[in-house]
Symmetry: C2
């Protein structure tokens, strides 16, 4: 009975790792579509989000089965709730990548972001994707030190957001209001993806060790 | 045993209703502070958010106790997970109200929002607060029809967001980039508060009826 429980829990973790890979792809492709005004790719990212939600529902069902069938003890219930919250994190990260793609669609055939600002968006997309990949790596390796690394990568995101605000608030900002509004929202979406990656890392530590990290 | 379970579940619902009241106050006060550039009130809203998080942790513990001690059957476990998700919704709504207050703090002693745009922010704050209040009412009355009303109130929020974007994208927008960036983020915060109110309403329907509404 206990062996079966742990085997099913491993299956859940494998599914979560797979979802993390899907989110990583969505972040990469939505950023690429944004910078190349590629409507087709943007539409694909938006459509793929429903697939991610479906995958999430399947994992949730597995977790509910584990909760109901295997009579888990108290700490195991908390671990299963942590797994449910990771599903919610991943679904939300997928929504946010789709939001990035929707800005591409809204501005098409124009490009939302002027070439001079591509570096900033590339950096934000790259940092967000790295954090998602690190979360996947923690699930795969159960290595708590990688989870801690996610938090220092998150500091890079904060630095990028500050730099973004400084540019937009400069009196000499040459790109007008529309670009500033798009950039503010895009920055928010990438920041939220990063926040969810940090939350995931903390939940995985709990799932693996049964103890919450001190920072939460 | 069953009576005790239902009594403790009622206590959880009462706590959730109380948290909803705290969030409603935070939304009202953060909007008021924004429109009057009232740093003191903004700081109070930011400080009160930690209190809300503490209240949330206490409710979570009660829910985990119910999960572990009362050996709930499958549908009850799902209801308890729905209650946990409502705690997370409420904590997040509190964060978002604090984000509104932080914009007040960032721009102080200047006002973030020009007088001509006060009506729009008032409307967004009022609709968001009404949705939070309606969520509290559903918890209190277990009246499914009120839950459905939240979704039509959410349509008002969508209309306000569209009107906001139209104004900002107008070539004659006179308030510059800084106001546009603040307004875009504020609109996003109010919209997310509204989204969480809709999610809460759906979860309460499930908690009360044991069935998910068709829209989810």
């Amino acid at each position: 009975m206990r062996d079966q429980y742990h085997q099913q829990l491993d299956e859940v973790l494998t599914e979560l790792e797979r979802m993390t890979g899907i989110v990583s792809t969505a972040v990469r492709r939505s950023t690429s579509a944004l910078l190349t005004a590629d409507l087709g790719t943007a539409e694909e990212v938006i459509a793929a989000d429903s697939q991610l939600d479906l995958a999430g529902e399947v994992v949730e069902e597995k977790i509910f089965d584990l909760m109901a069938l295997q009579a888990p003890v108290a700490v195991e219930l908390r671990m299963l709730v942590a797994a449910l919250r990771m599903v919610a994190d991943l679904e939300r990260m997928g929504d946010l990548a789709a939001h990035v793609a929707k800005i591409t669609r809204m501005r098409y055939p124009a490009a939302a972001i002027p070439v001079e600002l591509h570096g900033l968006i590339e950096d934000m997309g790259r940092v967000a994707q790295r954090m998602v990949d690190q979360a996947g790596e923690v699930i795969k390796t159960r290595d708590v030190s990688v989870a801690q690394r996610i938090e220092s990568t998150d500091d890079e995101m904060d630095t990028l957001r500050s730099s973004q605000f400084r540019q937009m608030m400069d009196a000499a900002w040459p790109y007008g209001v529309e670009v500033a509004v798009d950039l503010a929202l895009l920055g928010r979406y990438y920041e939220r993806i990063a926040d969810h990656a940090v939350s995931m890392a903390q939940r995985i530590i709990f799932l693996v060790t049964g103890e919450m990290p001190a920072s939460q």
